[in-house]
């Protein structure tokens, strides 16, 4: 089970990103637990300055803008 955190104040892009992560995981058959982090303090402490940000198992893999689906699959597989 991979723990994925999507950092963002709850704008539309952040929602989309969370959905994209879930879809990618389903496609790859990887079990994930996707948590949306909306608290500004928690976002700042994670080192995310441009949202949405994605961390997988505690490691930040992406910040700023919608990620590409292919990249998400790459991060999940790694």
């Amino acid at each position: 089970m991979k723990s994925v955190k999507v950092y963002g104040p709850g704008c539309k892009r952040c929602e989309t990103t969370a959905t994209m992560v879930k879809e990618a995981a389903e496609k790859l058959g990887i079990a994930v637990d996707v948590e949306k982090v909306t608290d500004p303090k928690a976002i700042a402490l994670a080192g995310v300055m441009s949202t949405p940000g994605i961390a997988i198992d505690g490691k930040l893999v992406h910040t700023g803008g919608l990620p590409e689906a292919a990249k998400i699959e790459g991060w999940l597989r790694a």
């Binding site: 303090k41 700042a44 402490l45 300055m49 441009s50 930040l60 910040t63 700023g64 597989r77």
Partner: protein
């Protein structure tokens, strides 16, 4: 970890470069023909060309494609340029920077760094926690929304380059000076308590390891920028220019000059106050600006209105309320509004 496939193999690079060159040539060819095309279209309609309706329609048919063409080109170019910048690099450049130089750099970087107003709070926290002085952070936060390529393109396309350059210069000046003043006031104590406690700890967070971008990746980012921004502003451009066309064709010149002309001293503060609760992007406000200017409204008053609409917005204040106390927000509004007022009065005096 970074095992993701490169998005494009170098082999395809040349076809991208050729594509971009072909696009630029095609762009220039069509852009030159816009005026005759729009006149041709207008003449097909069953209205007298020099009637009010004819004027309004010709204005609309020429300005809408012109603005959309200019936006496409400049937003693409800025998308490519911005791919060289990131909030993380900007923070590293600004942290521990002294006030003065720091304010100037922050205002400049505010224009070049990719920034979305929904990221304003995390960005603010990221800057302050890494030791970027408060005033320098504000210079960035003022410049980022106010001096943007959409505003500059629209001013250039609709009003001309002297006004666009003036806007650029004064927008940066306000960001530098307002940030510097806020820094001098030593208001760090007016941050929300937990923000002050954040000063330690978050300063060296794990950053994403970048894979170096190829030029093709940067083109892709430019295209993404065009798609995002045009999708957001096209309706505003059409509505705004439509509104502008109506003013252009119908509103009598004397009325506008009396309300917004240089003689009425109160017009500048009134424009600033009216602009604060209004929230639209540059695209929505600038066509109105053009039509107002064309009808004799004073340049300073109109620019003050535009800066106020873009730079001081209630939704943004509500977002920043999470990290700033009301007192600090009040100072922020006060300082920036004073800067805009000064620019408005100065312009009305000079021109």
């Amino acid at each position: 970890m970074s095992t993701e496939l490169p998005l494009s193999t170098p082999r395809h690079g040349w076809s991208w470069h050729l594509g971009v060159v072909a696009f630029l040539i095609l762009w220039a060819l069509i852009y030159q023909q816009l005026q005759p095309l729009s006149e041709g279209l207008t003449s097909l309609l069953p209205v007298e060309r020099h009637s009010h309706t004819g004027e309004a329609i010709a204005f609309f048919l020429y300005d809408v494609p012109k603005v959309l063409f200019l936006l496409t080109l400049i937003v693409f170019a800025m998308g490519v340029v911005r791919s060289f910048f990131s909030p993380e690099k900007t923070r590293a450049a600004l942290s521990g920077r002294r006030e003065g130089v720091g304010n100037i750099m922050a205002a400049g970087l505010g224009v070049l760094t990719p920034f979305c107003s929904c990221s304003a709070v995390p960005l603010f926290l990221g800057f302050v926690s890494a030791g970027v002085p408060l005033g320098v952070t504000f210079s960035f936060l003022i410049a980022a929304p106010m001096v943007n390529e959409v505003a500059l393109v629209l001013l250039f396309g609709l009003v001309g380059w002297p006004v666009a350059l003036t806007y650029l210069g004064f927008g940066l000046a306000i960001a530098v000076v307002a940030g510097w003043v806020i820094g001098k006031l030593r208001l760090e104590g007016w941050l929300q308590d937990w923000v002050r406690d954040l000063h330690s700890g978050a300063s060296s967070p794990a950053t994403v390891t970048d894979t170096p971008l190829t030029l093709v990746d940067r083109y892709r980012q430019g295209i993404t920028a065009v798609r995002d921004i045009l999708a957001k502003v096209w309706l505003w451009v059409i509505l705004g220019i439509g509104m502008g066309a109506v003013i252009h064709g119908y509103v009598p010149q004397e009325l506008m000059a009396r309300i917004m002309g240089a003689d009425a001293w109160w017009s500048v503060p009134a424009a600033v106050v009216m602009g604060i609760p209004m929230y639209t992007n540059a695209a929505g406000v600038i066509p109105i600006v053009e039509a107002l200017l064309g009808k004799g409204a004073a340049l300073g008053t109109v620019l003050a209105f535009m800066m106020s609409v873009i730079a001081l917005s209630l939704p943004e204040m509500i977002i920043l309320r999470q990290v700033l106390t009301l007192r600090l927000i009040a100072v922020f509004i006060g300082v920036v509004a004073s800067g805009i007022l000064a620019v408005g009065f100065l312009f009305n005096l000079l021109f």
